[in-house]
C-alpha cells in the first residue's frame, strides 16, 4: 500500500518539477509581458499543485493535509488576482508611459 502511495507521490512531484521547468523556460523565451505572464502563472501554479498533490499521499494528519491544500489555494487565488492586477498595471502604465 505504502509502496503504491510512494509511487504516486513520485509521479506527481516529478510532474510538478517539470512544470516549474516549463514555466521558467516560458518566462525566458516568450517575447512580451502578457504572454510571459500567461506562461508563468499557468505553469508554476500547476507545478505547485502537483507537488501538493504528491505530498498529500504522504500525509497522515488530516489537518496538515488541509494546510497544504490551503497553501495551494492561496497561491492560486493570489496568482490569478495578481496576474490580473499586474496586467492592468502593465497596460495602464504603458499607456501613461511610466513603466519603462
Amino acid at each position: 500500500m505504502s509502496l503504491a502511495l510512494d509511487a504516486l507521490t513520485f509521479l506527481a512531484v516529478a510532474a510538478g518539477g517539470f512544470f516549474f521547468l516549463a514555466g521558467t523556460v516560458g518566462l525566458l523565451r516568450f517575447p512580451d509581458t502578457l504572454s510571459r505572464l500567461h506562461a508563468l502563472t499557468k505553469a508554476d501554479n500547476l507545478g505547485l499543485g502537483l507537488i501538493v498533490l504528491g505530498l498529500l499521499f504522504q500525509m497522515e494528519d488530516p489537518f496538515a493535509a488541509l494546510k497544504l491544500v490551503a497553501v495551494w489555494l492561496l497561491t492560486l487565488l493570489a496568482g490569478g488576482a495578481v496576474t490580473q492586477l499586474i496586467a492592468h498595471a502593465a497596460l495602464g502604465g504603458r499607456s501613461a508611459g511610466v513603466t519603462t
Partner: protein, 311 residues
C-alpha cells in the same frame, strides 16, 4: 547538501544584484527575493521560528515598505546617482569590505568545536515556564526584559515617525487615503484574503507556546492584513490622536509591565511568574501584546500623519 549549495549561491547572487542594480526599484524587488531565500536558509538551520519572522517581517513587511518608498521617490533616485563617489573612495570601501568579509570567514572557521550552548539550560528550566517552545520561553521568560524593551523600541520609532509630521497635520491620519479600486479586483483580493490572513495570524500566534510561532509572527500577519485593507481602500488609518488607538498601542506593554511588577509580590522578582500560573500569565500578556505590536507595525508602514485632521 546540494540544496544548501544552490541556496547559498542564490542568496549571494541576489544580494550582489541588490547592491549592483542601477534602478532602485529593481534593487528593492531583489531584496524581497533575498528575504524569501533567507527564510529558506533559516529552515535549513533548524530555526523555524526565525524563518517565520523573516518571511513575515524581514521579507514581507519590510519589502512592502521599501516598495512604497521607492515608487514615491521615483526619479529623484536616478538623479542622486550623479553623486557617485570617486574611485579612491570606492577602492577604499572595497578594501575595507573585503577585509571584513575575509576576517569573518576566518572567524567562522575558528569557532570552537564543540560549540558552547545554552540549550541544556533552556531545556532544564523550561518546565517552570509552562511553555514547550524553547524560543518563546527565551523571549517571554528568561529574557523577557529584552522583549519588553524591544516593544518600547517599536513604540518609540512610531512616536519619532509621527513627530515628523508638519504641525498643521498633527492629529490627522497617517499615510494617504487610498481611493477604492475602480475595477474591484483589488477589493475582491482583499476581501478574500483578509479572513484567511486573520485565521493564519491567529493560528501562528496560538501555536507559539508549543510549536514555532508566536506573538511577533502573528502580529506581523495582522499588520499586513490591516495594510492590505487600507491599500484596497476598504479602511482608512485611524487619526493619531484618537484615544482608542493610543490605548490599543500601549495595551500590550502595559499589561506586560503590570504582570512584571506584580512579579515582585507574587514571584519574588520583576518579570518572574509563579510556576503554577506561568503559562496562563504569559498568555494574558501575549494576547494584548500581539494586538499592540500589530498596530504599531501597521502604523510604522503607514508613515507620519499626512491627512488633514478633522476638527
Amino acid at each position: 547538501m546540494a540544496l544548501d549549495a544552490v541556496l547559498a549561491v542564490l542568496v549571494v547572487g541576489v544580494a550582489v544584484w541588490t547592491v549592483a542594480a542601477r534602478d532602485t526599484f529593481a534593487a528593492v524587488v531583489g531584496f524581497v527575493a533575498f528575504g524569501l531565500l533567507v527564510a529558506l536558509i533559516w529552515v535549513r538551520l533548524a530555526a523555524p521560528d526565525v524563518a517565520l519572522t523573516e518571511a513575515a517581517l524581514g521579507s514581507g513587511l519590510t519589502g512592502g515598505l521599501l516598495l512604497g518608498a521607492s515608487t514615491r521617490l521615483g526619479r529623484t533616485e536616478a538623479e542622486a546617482t550623479g553623486e557617485l563617489p570617486g574611485g579612491l573612495l570606492q577602492f577604499a570601501a572595497a578594501t575595507v569590505s573585503v577585509l571584513v568579509s575575509a576576517g569573518l570567514i576566518a572567524l567562522v572557521l575558528l569557532l570552537p568545536e564543540p560549540a558552547p550552548t545554552l540549550a541544556p539550560k533552556v531545556a532544564a528550566n523550561i518546565a517552570a515556564t509552562g511553555l514547550q517552545n524553547p524560543v518563546t520561553a527565551v523571549l517571554m521568560a528568561y529574557r523577557a526584559i529584552d522583549t519588553l524593551l524591544e516593544v518600547m523600541v517599536l513604540l518609540l520609532a512610531l512616536v519619532g515617525m509621527w513627530s515628523l509630521a508638519p504641525d498643521h497635520l498633527w492629529g490627522g491620519a497617517p499615510g494617504r487615503r487610498e481611493p477604492a479600486d475602480p475595477d474591484g479586483v483589488l477589493t475582491f483580493v482583499a476581501q478574500v484574503l483578509l479572513p484567511v490572513g486573520i485565521l493564519v495570524a491567529i493560528h501562528i500566534f496560538w501555536v507559539g507556546s508549543v510549536a514555532p510561532g508566536g506573538e511577533f509572527q502573528g502580529a506581523t500577519i495582522f499588520a499586513a492584513m490591516w495594510i492590505l485593507a487600507t491599500m484596497a481602500g476598504l479602511a482608512n488609518t485611524p487619526p493619531v490622536m484618537r484615544r482608542s488607538l493610543r490605548l490599543l498601542l500601549i495595551a500590550g506593554p502595559a499589561v506586560f509591565f503590570a504582570i512584571g511588577l506584580a512579579g515582585f509580590a507574587i514571584a519574588g522578582a520583576f518579570l518572574a511568574y509563579p510556576a503554577d500560573y506561568a503559562k496562563l500569565l504569559i498568555l494574558i500578556i501575549e494576547i494584548p501584546l500581539t494586538l499592540s505590536i500589530a498596530t504599531t507595525l501597521a502604523l510604522l508602514v503607514a508613515g507620519p500623519p499626512e491627512q488633514e485632521p478633522q476638527r
